[in-house]
Assembly symmetry: C2
Homo-oligomer: 399 residues x 2
């Protein structure tokens, strides 16, 4: 059997490999890296034993036998033509748009990626965050996923997810809703919308973003392909955020892969007793995931800004918050109704009378204290903020 | 003015100091540490200038003037007798029940503690956790606080809190409900129930647990006293957990004190957009608080067990989870309805035919595969767990 001409084309040879192997296939990675994709595929086509180097003879022979069962009907030119008709292409290492981050996967780097959509992949994911989670979220999780995705898109960051039901879909939709960039990484061929109910969603992602898979066209979704796909999500995105996930779930596997790749990892908190947040809480406690609650948190994670100086939300400021401690203590010691002599105020405040006099003068100027006949003092009636006075039970700041 | 006889009694002298100063008073701490409480209080009584050492003359004179305004009516014997009538006492450094942990407060260590209740303080708090939070919790926060408190009490750990409305009250009540030990640290005198609406709650705590304050009897609650009190909660407890707290709140101050004292710090997560969980989430993100969701988490925090080996909650186990990867792949490649020849199964699985035959034999033995006429194979009808097959859209494990 002579080798077909496409074996001389690295792109087509890699396209062929994507059909021959069930990824991640460490032996295939080693062989392609050593021989080049074309030379390696020629060995498979002809059944010529592969030269042994890092991989043992036994494993090589086993791999060759495994790959050869998928030879019948192998036609990467036809696969590529079919995907091109749908606006797709094959992206291979060396292409400008090949995402350099994928190299972090080492022997698990995909041999190529099938891509639909007009954006350049590397540029699309350069600033990106994976938003993943359970397929059966609560209304809360779904809302948070959509809001986070929209929010990071507003900040110029792309959203990567897996097009599944639940959190994935909410994330893609949140990104699409604000005209952001979103990337769907599938566990099956990019020509096959899966789940079927997401046919329109996946088409919309391909229209304005990218649909990506390492699986050859026509490949169907299988359990191990979802797990394999998760490594690509974790590697493609600059950071990964889990919105809602049970204790054991696919999203947790993505999170663990992200952590293994030293990617920043975030988790959204939820109610302590929610089974669908248990995975997120576990990631925080045991894997060091950062607690993220809004798009700013996520954007910070994706951009790896070193130190965080959060802007506190506006808090009611009591009028006396800028008083020095002595003056504040004197103010606290003033009665609300009947006036009190300076000595009595000093005793309540635990301060010398002369300091109290100075403070009272300051408070009078600030219209916080009123002097009555006979040098007795009380608080001036307040215009706002009942936080300090009068002191109804339980409204005191405490902890 | 000759010194009264009680100045020769360290306990009574410290009781006197607790009335003279507004804690934390670093000058008072230094003077009491240098001279002893009795000798130091004699200086205050007589107005004799204090010997200058670590503290400057100017600060000493200022402090002396400040303390002397509270001399009129000073009578620690009367204070102690009054508290003793209510089943209370004064605990001072050197007592068996003086909590050694308070030493971590250094110059902010209280000069003494007024205590109501029959338990020994040191023994009560040796294994303890502070459960604190907002005075205006959600129903969620209140429930979590009560459940956590009851749960840690069930594990032999005492609950420390501040007797305030909201999370504090829920924590005390949770502990009382299971007959656990709970300690209320007040910002006012132990003879004054505050808030008034908690008169019965505080009485119940004093009955079976302890009510504690550094403030002399009769002292009223003031803003700065709550902040000062928070340092005692943080120091007394072996760990601190914040259940619900806004971005700025008294509970956050307690948490920061706990962190400053190198006490283990936990925070309960809540909905990402809940303003009453924002403080907890911030503690996780910025202060390194551990995400805690149940009494086991909190008990672990309080007991500082080094490594956590959490028992995962029971998860549905798919029947094939114990299959080796090759057999699992063959199972996935089997059609549900019409049988398929071995070669076709091998191609779908991407495995050599001989390996597929072996796997099929194994699957047949496990009653997971059925062989049909003409050596065609399909999955055996399943008795449970539809997770693997049939494969309705979207029910595949993904993430």
């Amino acid at each position: 059997m002579s080798s077909p001409s496409w074996t001389g084309d690295d792109r087509l040879a890699r396209a062929a490999w994507s059909r021959l192997v069930e990824p991640p296939d460490l032996v295939a990675s080693a062989v392609v890296a050593t021989l080049g994709a074309g030379e390696a595929v020629r060995h498979v086509l002809t059944g010529t034993p592969l030269p042994s180097s890092a991989v043992s003879r036994r494993r090589l022979d086993g791999a060759l036998a495994r790959w050869r069962v998928r030879l019948p009907g192998l036609d990467p030119e036809r696969d590529l033509a079919m995907v091109e008709r749908r606006g797709g292409r094959v992206v291979v290492p060396g292409d400008d748009e090949w995402p350099s981050r994928l190299g972090d996967l080492e022997h698990e780097t995909p041999v190529c990626l099938w891509v639909r959509g007009s954006l350049a992949l590397e540029q699309a994911v350069r600033s990106s965050v994976a938003v993943v989670g359970t397929r059966s979220p609560t209304a809360y999780g779904e809302k948070v996923a959509g809001d986070l995705a929209a929010g990071v898109c507003d900040r110029g960051i792309a959203v990567v997810s897996g097009a599944a039901f639940g959190i994935d879909a909410a994330a893609h939709k949140g990104a699409l809703a604000v005209g952001g960039t979103t990337v769907a990484v599938l566990a099956n061929g990019v020509d096959r919308p899966y789940p079927m109910a997401h046919e329109r969603l996946i088409a919309a992602v391909a229209e304005s973003g990218l649909v990506v898979s390492e699986q050859a066209p026509g490949a169907s979704p299988m359990k191990h392909r979802f797990l394999a796909r998760n490594r690509i999500i974790a590697a493609l995105a600059g950071a990964t955020v889990v919105v809602e996930a049970a204790w054991r779930s696919g999203a947790i596997s993505t999170a663990n892969r992200a952590a293994g790749l030293c990617r920043p990892l975030g988790a959204v908190p939820g109610p302590a007793m929610s089974a669908l947040s248990a995975g997120c809480h576990r990631l925080m406690r045991d894997v060091g995931a950062v607690c993220v609650t809004d798009a700013d948190d996520v954007a910070e994670l994706a951009q790896q800004i070193g130190t965080r100086v959060p802007a506190p939300p506006p808090a009611p400021v009591a009028e006396h918050d800028d008083l020095d401690p002595v003056t504040a203590r004197v103010l606290e010691a003033l009665p609300v109704r009947a006036g009190r002599p300076v000595g009595s105020v000093a005793r309540v405040a635990g301060l010398p009378a002369d300091e109290v006099r100075t403070a009272l003068a300051r408070l009078e100027l600030m219209e916080l204290a009123d002097r009555g006949a006979g040098d007795v003092w009380r608080r001036a009636p307040r215009r706002s903020s009942g936080r300090l006075q009068p002191l109804p039970p339980g409204r005191l700041p405490t902890g």
